[in-house]
């Protein structure tokens, strides 16, 4: 950053050229970042604000030009609705049981992949293969594997004598959906952790093993603290992904996917938004769900920010 490109052109140049040069230097950075910001403004920010405006109205999907002012009516109605709270709770529980085991397993796998071994290339590509599988394809496959009557998983569980109904019971269905998410993303996160682990200086481990630290101690005392920023990053990204969960529960439910199962047992907020906006045709209420999601994300962000700040201060203090 210290190298500053000097704006003055050599005096020998004609004046118009030097002016052009200076203009190029000043304007081109903005020209280079402009496409991103223009697209974001057009397809991200502007619709986001419009969604907020829609959420204060009654709007029919088929007659979107007729807007009837509702004030905060959509929000009060939403927040007093049981189905909304079910969807919120489901989004949270599915988020936790898909994110926490996923990231823990990814950490373990990354640690193993960081060893010197034969076939490391194979293992890396193998655990990344689910990442190449789409939400739709993966979900359709797992719907089969989780089928209560003839699915592979219940066939295996016969051995221990349990037959959960992965479709209709609340916890089994949420675990099944979380399994799809975990299956698709564990390998990807493992490779991200692996990248961070490879940046940890090797002499740290050598010194630790000379001091008699076993592998577990090396993992908890050296690896984890060294890659903490990466762990934070994956936690944030997974949290965002969990709040948006849509395709997996939608397709897992088959014919009743939009309502998240016959008793909404696995309906997420995104599904609820879709159900209100499209099958029920109430765009205003759907917009209120969208903005509630935004408020929740801001709240989560604030909590995460406060935690990191508290931890920083705590660590500095003691």
């Amino acid at each position: 950053m210290a190298t500053h490109v000097r704006a003055e052109a050599p005096p020998a140049r004609p004046a118009w050229r030097s002016r052009l040069y200076r203009f190029d230097l000043k304007a081109s950075p903005y020209a280079f970042i402009a496409p991103f910001f223009i697209c974001f403004a057009a397809f991200g920010l502007f619709p986001l604000i419009w969604t907020g405006w829609l959420s204060l109205h009654y709007v029919d999907l088929l007659k979107p030009d007729v807007m009837e002012w509702r004030g905060f009516g959509n929000y009060t109605r939403l927040w007093s609705n049981d189905q909304f709270w079910t969807a919120l709770r489901n989004t949270f529980t599915i988020g936790v049981i898909s994110t926490v085991p996923q990231l823990l397993m990814a950490l373990g796998l990354a640690h193993l992949l960081n060893y010197r071994m034969r076939g490391r290339g194979f293992f890396r590509v193998a655990i990344l293969a689910p990442y190449a599988t789409s939400i739709a394809a993966a979900t359709l496959v797992f719907v089969q594997l989780f089928n209560p009557d003839y699915g592979f998983i219940n066939w295996m569980l016969n051995a221990v004598g349990i037959h959960p109904n992965w479709y209709s019971e609340t916890w089994p269905s949420q675990i099944a959906i979380s399994t799809i998410v975990t299956w698709r993303w564990t390998g990807y996160n493992a490779l991200i952790y692996l990248a961070a682990m490879q940046a940890v200086p090797k002499d740290l481990y050598e010194a630790a093993s000379l001091d008699g630290a076993n592998r577990w101690q090396q993992f908890t005392r050296i690896t984890i603290p060294s890659i903490r920023p990466t762990i934070m990053f994956t936690i944030i990204v997974s949290t965002i992904g969990a709040t948006q969960l849509f395709g997996e529960p939608m397709l897992f439910g088959g014919g009743v996917g939009v309502s998240g199962g016959s008793a909404h047992q696995f309906q997420t907020l995104s599904l609820y938004l879709y159900e209100l906006g499209w099958p029920s045709r109430q765009l205003g209420r759907a917009s209120a769900v969208a903005w509630t999601m935004l408020l929740l994300l801001l709240l989560i962000g604030l909590v995460q920010y406060l935690i990191t700040r508290y931890r920083k201060r705590h660590e500095l203090g003691g």
Binding site: T3, L20, L25, K26, S28, I33, P35, F37, F40, F43, F46, T51, L54, L112, Y115, M117, F123, V125, A126, L128, P130, T133, S134, I135, A138, T139, L140, V141, F142, Q144, L145, Y150, W155, W183, G187, L191, L194, A195, A196, Q198, A199, P201, K202, E206, Q218, I227, P229, T230, F233, I240, Q244, G247, L251, G255, S270, Y274, A290, W291, L297, G301
Partner: protein, 304 residues
């Protein structure tokens, strides 16, 4: 976040690893980083867990629908693959879906790579007012879920009578914040300031610098980003599902139609065939380029 990207020490460490002598009789004092049998067993379990659903998709797609819906489930391939493919092809327009997905993913990855490289270069190597604030803004946009914009976008698309047309899926995905961040991180390290200054002294304007200096250096990162965006765009579900119909679907939208019905007359084998056909193109790319994709992720840690 910057820590997720490879640092010079990471590359050095990787390099040193490759320089190690190989062979059975290698004797080293510090075997602290050598995998033990437990590591192999655990990794083998992970590999099986990752690959088994894919293998089983193939098994189911090559059996009859009746066989798939029996317990115990089939475990070995059978000869029905071609019949199932023709049925799946008739049930949803798989050919059109594959073509559409290729077009969409191709356009989206080309434009994302181009715009990300331009913006990443500006953020990494050019000085301008508001740079840091704008970069923070780019990263912050990653946290906004697409659900927040679908309703107005749907209105715009229907107003323009673009419902069911590919441009309504392509346009909102022309840029990606993570791409900008990815290219910025790569170019911060890979592109020396001296090179840009030398080009400027030679009288090159910014466009020429982009073409003759930035693109050649950024090419490997552009390739990795292109593959990652392609995979993501191919697998994108929410917005295509909202805006496209079965008359002009992407692969994912077609799959949702094959698998989305209910009732007992559904042929499970055909559903699995659809999943297989929709995934196969990407699995083939992975089989050929998997190592490069893995290398791209492990050297430049990307997360959408």
């Amino acid at each position: 976040m910057a820590a997720t990207l490879s640092t010079p020490s990471a590359r050095k460490a990787k390099h040193a690893e490759q320089d190690r002598p190989r062979g059975l009789f290698r004797r080293r004092a510090g075997d602290h980083d050598k995998a033990g049998p437990v590591a192999y067993v655990l990794l083998a379990i992970a590999a099986v867990a990752s690959l088994f659903p894919l293998y089983w998709t193939f098994v189911a797609a090559s059996n009859t629908g009746e066989r798939v819906a029996q317990s115990p489930p089939p475990m070995v391939p059978s000869g029905e693959l071609w019949t199932n493919i023709t049925t799946a092809w008739n049930q949803a327009d798989m050919g059109k879906a594959l073509l559409n997905s290729t077009i969409v993913a191709g356009c989206v990855s080309l434009s994302t790579v181009l715009f990300s490289t331009l913006a990443g270069f500006a953020f990494a190597k050019l000085r301008f007012r508001g740079r840091n604030a704008l970069l923070t803004l780019v990263v912050a946009t990653m946290t906004i879920p697409p659900q927040l914009s679908v309703i107005p976008l749907y209105r715009i698309v229907t107003k323009l009578e673009w419902g069911n047309q590919l441009q309504s899926v392509i346009l909102p995905s022309l840029v990606a914040a993570f791409g900008v961040f990815f290219m910025r991180q790569f170019l911060s390290e890979a592109l020396p300031f001296e090179l840009i200054e030398a080009a400027r002294v030679d009288g090159a304007n910014s466009l020429r610098i982009i073409w003759h200096v930035v693109f050649p250096i950024a090419r490997p990162a552009m390739a990795v980003l292109g593959m990652l965006v392609f995979v993501q765009s191919w697998n994108d579900f929410f917005w295509p599902f909202v805006v496209l119909t079965q008359q002009n679907p992407t692969v994912q939208v077609a799959l949702s139609a094959i698998g989305g019905g209910s009732g007992h007359d559904i042929n499970q084998a055909v559903i699995m065939t659809g999943a297989l056909v929709g995934t196969l193109p990407l699995l083939l790319i992975f089989a050929v380029l998997g190592k490069h994709i893995v290398g791209g992720i492990t050297s430049g840690a990307v997360k959408s």
